[in-house]
Symmetry: C2
Subunit: 93 residues, 2 copies
């Protein structure tokens, strides 16, 4: 069987990484907006993607406020590509 990467087979993480695949980078606020997730959930799922090195997270300050930016890594791109292949195959697409 063509196992689906369990890290990517979760709606919010898939939404995050698919979005990051279409942009150079996105900050926490932007991801909140496009995914419509809660902050807690978004934070947790970003961490998991980061732990797997599927995304790179950069924390800086924008003026006086913290600012978290995320970008997909080559590892993440490959994983997403593999996931897309696998699910297409599963769904006969």
């Amino acid at each position: 069987m063509n196992k689906l990467d369990p890290l990517l087979h979760q709606e919010l993480r898939l939404a995050i990484i698919s979005f990051l695949a279409t942009v150079e980078r996105a900050d926490f606020k932007k991801l909140l907006e496009v995914t419509e997730a809660t902050k807690g959930n978004l934070s947790v799922q970003i961490s998991k993607l980061q732990d797997a090195k599927y995304i790179k997270v950069t924390k800086t300050f924008k003026g006086k406020y913290p600012h978290t930016q995320c970008a997909i890594t080559p590892t993440g791109s490959k994983a997403l590509e593999a996931y897309v292949m696998a699910i297409k195959n599963l769904l006969n697409l």
Copy 2:
């Protein structure tokens, strides 16, 4: 957001229903074979799909042995179609 039907967004259930979408019906043994799942897991996931009326399960006897057949329902077909649309959209396909 285009929420993914949580009942279908699970690998084994997705494998079951996608396969059933391509055949008229399939028995437990065939589903075991194509999904490579354990019997316990397959049994549980079949029940969940049945509870949602996404598939119809028919229990008969084949000779002296029980024989369980599964077929996708119109409800299941629509749900699968919707899932495919939603995930395509999510994955920018």
